[in-house]
Subunit: 336 residues, 2 copies
């Protein structure tokens, strides 16, 4: 699955920015892939791109309209179907990260077939995966893991891609969630894979590579999250990472969506090493990425300094401070 670019970002008429998270995430990381945004009347999200419709986007070179918005339940609202048909009529492929499939809407399926255009339901991989094997693969892998969901695992992996490439590393972000797939144009939404094939899908995503190549694998969930730990463990075994970064949000007290208390960073390091050794006996933690968005600058720097000292590892906020110390640690531990 390679999604043709550039994109037109469709934001629909979402009631707030959170509902446009996917689209805004794509724009944050790949603004140069986006020719414009299409907003319907009442839309409360703004990706600060030029507003335009499908025909104008196509005239400006757009190849795919990304439905970068969700409504409650992750289903496609009926009143967005006309916009999708208009995109197809303008010659654009259409991609979404919704649970429901574009191809399940007969009008969309038929129009796409008629126009010879592709529908990308990025939560549903067309690949038939094998079960994971656990065999050692060549090349280097780094996985971002978390004390919780939605703490910055994708952003950390993307920031590492930029930071490592800037220092001359051969490094690729490997997407395991729908927004990540749209940001990188490929990948697997691992939480939508059938349970038997979690680790196998990640092995497929991060195959044998040049010994100096790094795959920077986007983590999902947390080994300590009662909803999603199975996904996290299959992802850990499949990625067989040489290195991992723990991502953490210091102001949370319970895990997202449940009443379970947050684990400590040290608990996450320990369990990740214990479990990760199954497929990579040399797995090690190379640093901590703290999401300090809810702290002021002084508090953020205090937390980072204390976190680094407590664990003897670099601690950064990828947004506030950049990932330089993580890249330096990777270079020191593994060479260039």
């Amino acid at each position: 699955m390679d999604i043709p670019r550039p994109y037109l970002i469709f934001l629909g008429d979402v009631p707030d920015a959170l509902a446009a998270k996917t689209g805004l995430g794509v724009v944050d990381w790949r603004r140069d892939w986006c020719v414009g945004q299409w907003r319907l009347p009442g839309c409360k999200a703004d990706a600060r791109l030029t507003d335009m419709g499908a025909a104008e986007a196509a005239a400006k070179g757009a190849k795919t309209m990304v439905v970068g918005a969700v409504n409650a339940g992750g289903v496609l609202p009926e009143h967005w179907v006309d916009s999708i048909l208009a995109a197809l009529d303008a010659g654009l492929n259409v991609a979404t990260g919704l649970h429901s499939r574009l191809s399940d809407v007969p009008a969309i399926r038929e129009r796409a077939a008629e126009k010879g255009l592709a529908l990308f339901d990025v939560r549903h991989s067309p690949v038939r995966f094998a079960t994971g094997k656990g065999n050692n693969r060549t090349g280097r892998r780094l996985l971002t893991v978390g004390t919780d969901c939605s703490v910055g695992k994708k952003y950390t992996a993307l920031a590492l891609e930029t930071g490592m490439r800037d220092k001359g590393f051969d490094a690729d972000f490997k997407a395991t969630g729908q927004t990540g797939v749209l940001i990188s144009g490929r990948g697997v939404a691992i939480d939508a894979v059938v349970a038997d094939f979690i680790s196998g899908a990640v092995e497929w995503l991060t195959p044998d590579a040049d010994p100096k190549h790094w795959d920077l694998v986007e983590g999902q969930g947390s080994l300590f999250h009662p909803s999603f730990a199975g996904v996290s463990l299959g992802l850990l075994h499949g990625a067989q990472p040489d290195a991992f970064v723990v991502c953490h949000e210091p102001t949370r007290t319970t895990m997202r969506g449940v009443k379970t208390p947050l684990p400590t960073i040290q608990q996450v390091i320990d369990l990740t090493v214990t479990c990760g050794r199954l497929t990579n006996p040399d797995i090690r933690c190379v640093g901590i990425a703290v999401n300090t968005e809810h702290l002021d600058d002084a508090a953020a720097h205090t937390v980072l300094a204390e976190t680094a000292a407590a664990h003897g590892l670099p601690a950064v906020d990828p947004i506030r401070t950049g990932v330089g110390p993580l890249v330096d640690k990777i270079a020191a531990d593994f060479g260039r």
Copy 2:
């Protein structure tokens, strides 16, 4: 999903008993649910039931034909379709544990609709699960876990159901694999659930219950199996077991289907407790079930005695010795 009984067991023309594992498993545990077996010319498996076709089975009261056989790849061989149509024509529902869906074969789908009969693809639950919540539920739960796949987790849970009921416990086997679903007439094939919903599906399967009720949950895979550990962890968190039994096959050196060495029983106990505490802080191991089928009687008893002594826990072979000591330990630890 409640599969109507009794069953006609369809064994097709499988080349050996292993390919009829599902059907033979159903007969082992539920012989009184089975009115007969239907074998095609060349069939090398034998469940030692009366041979009969669909019409005779229907006349003897059968309600569902269970396709208790697989061919390579888990797909439905074309030359079995006629037998399935004949079963529908005789008024039987049809159930399978194959990966492919009966309803994907147009002739089968149309015939079932025409006759008003049900098709049970037990690997594919029709339930839309929620994500797991990790909230504490009432009632007691026991999970069978393993040092590997296919070491006797289903048999142990089924033997415990019989053994505990004999001692007056209110206990129900809860199936998490296709054979188990056919044996109990309900359940969820957890390895076929979308990854995001593993623990949620198990929470659905083992809901709040009477404080003295025991759900005996069939385990899957192993926390140490690189193909399936994600399933095992989601199952552990969703089941939030009070008690678990470790199942082990002492003659294996590597895990099934991969090159990974087998973990020790102690490693499985330790990691199960570490991870299981997330949703049940009081989780404990109540014994070990050793599959001694490849040992002679003397060697089996030596292994059981040594295993019990090494861990300070009862060690049984559910087939060779019965599960009495496990039931006694459960009664001692949790009361009747």
